[in-house]
């Protein structure tokens, strides 16, 4: 890294200090995760194997991925159309709407959990009337709702930026060629913002899988990965919880890498 900086220009002290801080930041993230993974593999490989073979662990990790996927799917159908409206139209109160949609990002997760429990609990505004048909408390719908709440802003914002990057003139051109709005959207605007939306979906999914606070309040059972890690940590300590953590991170990282690789060929057609 130093070599490339030297090649382009003289190494100034500010650049040097900032580069050093970059290194610190990089090591902070990389060492924390890799140390956990390698320590587990080197110290207690058998523990990791046992974890992989443990049905409770596997099903909790699967539940994390599956509930995260459902939350992302719902986020797509809610967030992408919302993003289109926010990208294309101005209306009174728009900035208020945008700020409120972003609130889940800044709300402490346990607060979000309490709020969700109030609304979706058996006496709640939505949970009450729906009680005969769908259970949120300690059930998959509760997990999905909690994941959706904390992660949907990523989808909306990413989709909005994607749609904004598509010149409205392209849509106009499509329409004057005979396309009704929905066809112009489907054949021109959507494909041109696909990469933004995919990145939004990955962020949404990642955020959903990592959620613990909101989920645990509305649904301790069935246990998702993070809940199981926490549960094992409280009952049995580090040695019982770490293999699950390592497994969870290995599985999610490999999925993200695969998606990244598969989508690398998608071109970006930003206006500038």
């Amino acid at each position: 890294m130093k070599a490339t900086i030297r090649k382009t220009r003289k190494l100034e002290s500010l650049t040097f200090i900032f580069s050093f801080l970059l290194l610190v930041l990089f090591l902070f993230v990389f060492l924390t995760l890799s140390n956990m993974i390698f320590k587990q593999i080197l110290d207690d490989f058998q523990g990791l194997i046992n974890t992989v073979e443990n049905r409770a662990v596997v099903s909790s990790i699967f539940l994390s991925l599956y509930a995260g996927f459902l939350a992302t799917l719902i986020a797509f159908f809610l967030g992408a159309p919302a993003g289109y409206i926010l990208a294309r139209f101005d209306f009174p109160g728009k900035s208020l709407v945008e700020s409120i949609i972003d609130v889940p990002v800044v709300v402490p997760h346990t607060v979000a959990g309490i709020a969700l429990l109030t609304v979706f609990g058996s006496n709640g505004l939505i949970g009450g009337p729906l009680e005969a048909y769908i259970q949120f408390r300690d059930a998959l719908p509760g997990i999905v709702v909690a994941m959706l709440f904390v992660s949907v802003p990523y989808m909306t914002n990413s989709a909005r930026e994607g749609f904004k990057s598509v010149d409205p003139r392209l849509e106009n051109a499509a329409r004057s060629l005979g396309a009704p709005l929905w066809k112009a959207f489907l054949f021109v605007t959507l494909p041109l913002s696909a990469r933004h939306i995919l990145i939004g979906a990955i962020m949404t999914w990642a955020r959903a899988i990592s959620e613990f606070g909101a989920v645990v309040l509305i649904a301790y059972y069935p246990m998702i990965g993070p809940t199981l890690i926490y549960d094992r940590f409280l009952s049995y300590g580090m040695s019982a919880s770490r293999p699950i953590a390592v497994l969870l991170i290995l599985v999610t990282l490999s999925i993200f890498i695969v998606i990244r690789v598969l989508s690398a060929g998608w071109s970006i057609y930003d206006r500038d």
Partner: protein
Amino acid sequence: MIEIESLSRKWKNFTLDNLSLKVESGEYFVILGPTGAGKTLFLELIAGFHSPDSGKIRIGGKEVTHLPPEKHDLAFVYQDYSLFPHMSVKKNIEFGMRMKKIRSQEKLLETAKDLRISHLLDRYPLTLSGGEQQRVALARALVTDPKILLLDEPLSALDPRTQESARELLSTIHKKDKLTVLHITHDQTEARIMADRIAIIMDGKLMQVGIPEEIFEKPVDSRVASFVGFENMLNGRVISVDRGVLRIEAGKINIEASGNLEVGSQVHAFLRPENIVLSKTSTQSSIRNSLHGTVIEVWMLGALVRVKVDCGALLSVLITRQSAEEMGILPGVMVYAQFKASSVHVLR
């Protein structure tokens, strides 16, 4: 045929104000106006991308004012061509055909051949030159046989040589397909060469409609006059009229102009810089106006030279570089600025 009746539309701080216009079938109609005059907004209203606040638009006799753009049944080509970057040239051209359910590979190939893009069909828009992109955009617009073609500054993004061939191409298309073309531009030369008729739009208002000769020789208004190249304007009063020649007192100088107005009328007299001749001596000739003055400034503009002469009023004059050198035109030199009475365009 496009009929526009008292069209108005507010957009941000800008207003398009009560525009009425009729473009005949098969006409090559140019809308000319300075940048920011509302030309593109006007064209987008006709195409249906925006709704007007009031007024009516009829295309081929059918009212389309509040119909969505796909029902306006016209082809639109933007200044930046707006090709779909994620589709090949062929897919771009097929887009309109797919939307209008026209399945004819022959038609596609024929259009591509007419526009000399057959060799580009498998390429992607971002890999094409400006001229190529424009021909693809035209092919995409024309392949569905529209009756009306709207062009938003079609030549301004091209280099001068490509511009020339694009102009020829547009004329050919217009004649061959008997298209009604509505072309907007800020370039007077372009308007003059291409147009059957011209409309001048300034600040959201329609100023004048007419054939090119009328627009460029007889502008109806002082702002139109200065926009179409009458750079010299003298304000004055008619002091005598004799057999179609007006004598006008403008400040310290008197000039003669052809026209018929009452004595005492307050007038503006307009004069193009290229219609003024500079000479060292005041020769006897049919030229009615010969004003003695001093050269103030000289600018080189390539083959031409712009000279500012103070002869009691400031006149801007355009002469060739050759004559400027032969006469030794430099600041401080005394010259006669001469122009015909018939070159002076008089407006009340």
